[in-house]
Every structure is written in structure tokens, then in C-alpha cells.
Amino acid sequence: MPVSADRTPKKPVTTVDRSIPGAFEGETVTRRRFMTGTVHTAGAIAMAAFTLPAIGFAMGPVFEKREERWEAVGPIGDFPDDKYIPRTLTVEPGIGDVGKSTVYLRKYNPKLDSEAQDEYSAFVAISTRCMHLGCPVRFVEASARFICPCHGGVYDFEGKRTGGPPVRPLDRFYTRVRNGLVEVGPRYSVNSELKRFSPRDPGQPLDGIGPYLYPARPTTRKIPGT
């Protein structure tokens, strides 16, 4: 209980002045206060000893480094450059169908594609996760558009948003060719100019200050230099 200083007379500083029996001269902390402080400190240490590990245990996965997974999806000849071929990919191993996701693949087409070309872009792999709130989109061939069933998000052939609520183009996966097979690797996000960013969750815009408002997780980054 706080007591205002002007109402109570100031206590003498040392314990001797307060005529506490057995006090040493110049002692400023009573043994009772010392013991109280010790007990509280011991209690706080005991609390921390089980609370901090428990919190760390629960937060652990946030900081866990994940290995880069590459999955072969078929020979080069399977994928034309003017239409998409759907393939099923295991995004998260160990949980059956829940960990699988559909990805749309085609060969890079210099006439259509505006994404910068490098070793990972010989094939274009578009994620089916809508960038509004994460529903699965479907490629409708008749209109050459990706369409989301939930809230009407529409994306063009390149995966750029052309209508509805999504905040950025569809995410993509790194691709590479090994032994004549197309392999699909980690996911990355793109902004409206198809510039690559570390993977983000749906609903997080990447234009303007977006990348700063929605920081990438420190453990899953895009491949350096891409």
C-alpha cells in the first residue's frame, strides 16, 4: 500500500536507530526484509524454472529450420508451355492427404512470361493456394484463368490477380531439372511485378510497405540470390 511521504514520519535509515534488538551498527536492511526478499526470489526462480522451458517448448517449431525438399513430378516432355498440367505435391510429410497440395506446372514461355529467368525458372510451378485467405484455386482452361471458389478471386494465366480480393499473385515453387525429370522445390511468394520474396502466408500483400508489415519467418527463406 503506497503511503504518501508527508503523512508518515520518515523511518530511520539504519536498523540500530530503529532500536531493533540484535541489529548491527550501520545495518540498513532488516533480517526479516532480507529473508522475505530471499524467499520471493527463490519462488520466482522456481516459477521460471518450469515456465520458461514450457514456453520455449511451445514456441520451438517457430524457430525450427526446415530442410529444403525437392520432389520429382515427371519427365520434361510432360509439360507444354501453353497450358498447365496439375501435379500433386507433398508440402508437409507425415500427415497423409492433409500435407498434399496441387501445383500447376508448365514450361517457361518467353512470349507470355514476365518473370526474370534463371536456373530455377525453366518450368513455372504455380501454387493453388489463393492469396486472399488460402482456399484452393482451380485453373479453368476455357477462360485461361485461376479461379477461387471461396470469395471469387481471379488470376490470369501468369497467376497475377485480375479480380476479386486477393492481395498478390499466386505463390510459386522453385523448379529444376535433374536427370531429365522436373523437380519442384520450396515455395516462394511474388509481388505484382513477379519479384521473388521469401514465402508468406495468404492475405499478406508484398507491394509497397507490405514486406515490412509482414516479415518473413527467419527459418524459411527464398533461395539466396534469386
Binding site: 517457430v62 500427415i95 509482414y214 519467418r217
Partner: protein
Amino acid sequence: MAKLTPPLPGALRPKPKRPSENGNGATTPKDKLAEVGVSAVDWVDERTSLSAGARWLMFRKVPKGTNWFYTLGSATMFAFLSQAVTGVFLAMYYDPSATRAYESVRHITNEVFLGEFVRGMHKWGSTVMVILVFLHMARTFFFGAYKYPRELNWIIGVVLLLLTLFMSFTGYLLPFDQRSFWATTVALAINGTGPLIGPYLNDFLRAGPEFGVTTLTRFYALHMLVLPGIIAALIGAHLYLVARLGTTAPPWMKADISPELRRDEA
């Protein structure tokens, strides 16, 4: 404390014996049995003083005009208790693993005796609880019962409302069918749109960057251990404040002002 304790209501006070009963002072077996009960209660009460607390909690004065709207809080509490009991029994059959959760829920619904009924109680009861929380909140708001000195109780109530909604959110995933999986995916994406902390909060809830092996167990632990514990503790605090501060009269009741005071005002 003794002074503050309200007296027992008349119906509960021991009555003196009629002269015609046992006029000769003999005790019947019924009297002896009653005596055993009374002494057992007295034995506990002498060591705990529980009866004073029980009287303080239960035999409070309530204002004139108290009506059925004042039962919405208790109704919400009973909805919570019903959720707790049905939830505990559902946990006996439910298996929170991503590959077997759906199968165990199907087993509860189709094969366990009364399984469909208990699961239905829990499922529909959750909706009932949310509705009751909002009705209780509306009653408090429209009756002005959130005003001094009951602001803290309003704040605790708001926290309880949020916890109730978080219970609904974590419970929705548990059947692990298509609807609950996609609803949770969407809800997590909504959560992730919170600037700066959204992405990190999502990683915590999902236990990683993607919906993974331990997401379901994490939701299950939050749903059946963490949140109910906090809710039960806060309900205790909420009830303590209700008992301590008393309830308000409805706004249409006029205060009874004594004639002297009225003359002073004029």
C-alpha cells in the same frame, strides 16, 4: 465477517419442536439420523467456516425488479459446464492425430453408445454458449450494469467472450473433416493479416510455417486444457465480483428516496 454474513432464510432455520411431538423427551430414530447429519456438517464447518462463505455467496439481497433477464449469466455458466462435461467424455474416445482424428470422430458419431447425442450436445452447445454470452452481454449493456463499480467485471466478461470465441475456433478443427480443415486454413490466413505479429502468431498456432503434424494436437491441447482452465478461473473471479458488488436494479426502477432526503433536495 460475522456481521456481514446474511442470516439464514426462515425456511432453513431450525424450528422449535411442537409440544405434542415427543412430549416425553424421548428421541426417535429419525431424530438421531438428523443429529448425525447435523454433527457431520458441523464438524466440517467448525474446521473450515465454509457455511459463512456459502451464506455470503447465496443469501444475498437482490434489488427490486430483478427478472428473468438476470438468469442469462447463470445460463451461460451452465452452458460452459455442459461443454466441460461432454468435452471430458468426448476426450475418452477422440484421437487427436492428423491421420486418425476423423476416423475417431466418425466412430464416436456412428458406433459409440449415445456418442451421437454427447457429440451433438457439445457441438450445438458451443453455439448456444456463444449466443448466451452475447445475450448476457446485451443485458448488462442495456441495463447499464457495466457502470461503477462494476467496470472490472465488464472487462473480465469481455475477456471471457474472447476466450469463448477462441474455444469455438480451436474446437472447430477437431472433427478434421474438409469443412473444419479449410475453415481453419482460412481463419489462420485472416489471423496472419495482422501486421507485424500476425505471421509469428500464425507460426505459433500452426507449430510451423505450414499446417503440419502437430497443428491438430496443439489446437486440441489449447481447446481442452489451456482455455478451459483460464475460463474456469475467470468465471470464478466474475462470480466473486457479482457476489461482492451485488446486482443492479433494472433501469426502469426508481430509487426509493426517503421523505427527508426529498425535502432536502427541494
